[in-house]
Symmetry: C2
Subunit: 345 residues, 2 copies
């Protein structure tokens, strides 16, 4: 297993990216290609007192760096020699089994569609974060790649999310829910009503119906299907309330000597909860729909988060995700064309 790492992408590149990759190389025994400016990468190693590249780690030089300021649509054209573009090319050429990058989300979305390309028949790539629930985790598809969608996109999201949950996360018969403003099937926009009908008839999907925001948070579904706009609002709202409560707890426990003692008494629980909420463990979001495994790490990733994203990339690279989806493509196509003729009649 060889993982390509965009060593220059993200707020803390290259230092934290390189460090995270080396941890993963040691801990998971995966080979690593660090893509980026050789001198910058070597400087990180030198600063950390590493004189030789560890076994299984190589560097592929790329002169340019895509930043958060680069325009998503033109970053690839503007910076053809960037670590992002080279990483995608190496992945496309089969020089590695998966790519991990913390770069500009819009830029990598656009460039991966052009370089790595989507699985044949897949209409749109989707960004799929893993979100903690009280008893586990669930996937959110999409969370921002596609602000406007069609029934077909949403149907495909359901297939993509369900397949990833099953193949990469090992969830047995994953429950797929459609994020909506009510549980009844008559709820939501016309687009959602149509999508609900499509999903109801998808035998390949364990569709549990509409899920509301609170049900989604509380773990009713393993896969939450939604458009990128609503998914983004959902994701950020969860983050916001998390911060609200986290800050409240912190200031509560710091109030005075007695509450500081209280914090000590709850130390174990607080630690376990913090770990559960730590995005660094599950912070990689696969870019589903692409023909090769791409894992997008948080822009603010530190070494531990990069290690986490690589850890997530391994099962994704091991399963034949694209092959599985290709095998379902005829089913998806038939369902959508049936639905379209229904609308026409």
């Amino acid at each position: 297993m060889k993982i390509i790492i965009d060593a220059m992408g993200g707020d803390n590149a290259p230092r934290e990216i390189v460090r995270g990759a080396l941890i993963a190389n040691k801990e998971f025994g995966v080979d690593i290609i660090l893509v980026g400016r050789v001198e910058d990468i070597l400087q990180v190693l030198k600063d950390d007192g590493i004189t030789d590249l560890p076994k299984g780690v190589e560097i592929a030089h790329a002169e340019q760096v895509v930043t958060m300021e680069d325009k998503a649509a033109t970053a690839m054209k503007d910076k053809p020699e960037s670590s992002m573009v080279l990483s995608l090319k190496l992945l496309n050429e089969g020089k590695g089994d998966a790519l991990v990058t913390a770069t500009n989300t819009g830029a990598v979305l656009a460039a991966s569609t052009l370089i790595v390309k989507r699985i044949k028949g897949v209409r749109r790539g989707a960004l799929v974060p893993t979100m903690p629930t009280p008893k586990g985790y669930c996937l959110l598809i999409d969370c921002g790649a596609n602000v406007e969608v069609t029934e077909e996109y949403l149907l495909q999201f359901a297939f993509l999310g369900s397949a990833y949950s099953k193949l990469a996360l090992g969830v047995d018969n994953p429950r797929v829910g459609l994020l909506n403003n009510g549980a009844e099937e008559t709820k939501g926009t016309q687009l959602l009503k149509n999508t609900h009908n499509l999903l109801k008839n998808a035998k390949e999907i364990n569709f549990i119906g509409n899920v509301e925001g609170n049900d989604a948070v509380l773990g009713t579904a393993d896969v939450i299907v939604t458009d990128g706009f609503t998914g983004n609002v959902y994701l950020k709202t969860v983050e916001g309330v998390g911060k609200f409560f986290g800050d409240m707890l912190k200031s509560m426990f710091k109030r005075n000597l007695l509450t500081k003692i209280a914090a000590l008494l709850c130390y174990k629980d607080i630690k376990a909860f913090k770990a559960k909420m730590d995005y660094r463990e599950t912070g990689g979001a696969p870019l589903l729909g692409m023909s090769k495994p791409i894992m997008k790490a948080h822009g603010g990733s530190d070494a531990w988060a990069i290690r986490g994203a690589i850890k997530q990339a391994i099962p994704y690279a091991k399963c034949d995700f694209a092959g599985y989806i290709s095998g379902q493509m005829e089913t998806m196509k038939a369902m959508t064309s049936n639905a379209q003729s229904e609308v026409q009649t």
Copy 2:
């Protein structure tokens, strides 16, 4: 000040509704009309050992009861003798200054449009809950009444929310934000981009631009403008994460003797936070856009929540909300027609 109370609406009617109304009558010195089955209401009083109707409290008999099972669109026609319909008629005839009801949301939305009617020129009524933020509260408009919207609806929501924040809640120059999937003005659907442009030019509104889900939760804006679908997902997601954290805290503090002691040490802070999060204090959501003040209380309201909704109804009834909005109607109309001609050219 006289408040009309739909004594039969909600899961805990009439008992909790009547009790809440009597608390408000005593605490705030407002007169009350309890609308509903006389025998049921008198039975509540009898059970509570009250032999005579308190001063300022009267009963208006209505035979029928609208339940959560009644269809929103036809409840009014199906149950013309219901407490909901009579309450709205009394409000419309000026027999009271405001109406508080915990009945079926869809039903009261539909019926109020027909009986009380919207302020002339207002396109849609909106349900506007108050949501806690770290340092205060903000309004969410809309949270479910309008799943599909136009630029004009959203513009009007901004005016309605801003006016309510100013007149009823006393917020000075309320900050109005548009819920979106990014802060930049190029973000979101075409509808949101158009709305952003409209709001930017609204001198009457303190428009602070797009707000993301996390900013909204953390109190960036006093008024969050969104469509009813996204607003509903947002509201329920906040509720869900709140429950997630609340349950976590509870089980943490109950784990063992030491954590129980910790809970005692933090007692004051926990109590203050619980109070802040208690929907019963601010659980009334005005139905903005109607020509008279209607306050929708939570379906599961207990007496304290009904008291809270009445408390909120008082400043709403005192300010001339409909008059204020009518005064801004020409501005809104001009803005929307300008925008439309821009789109056409």
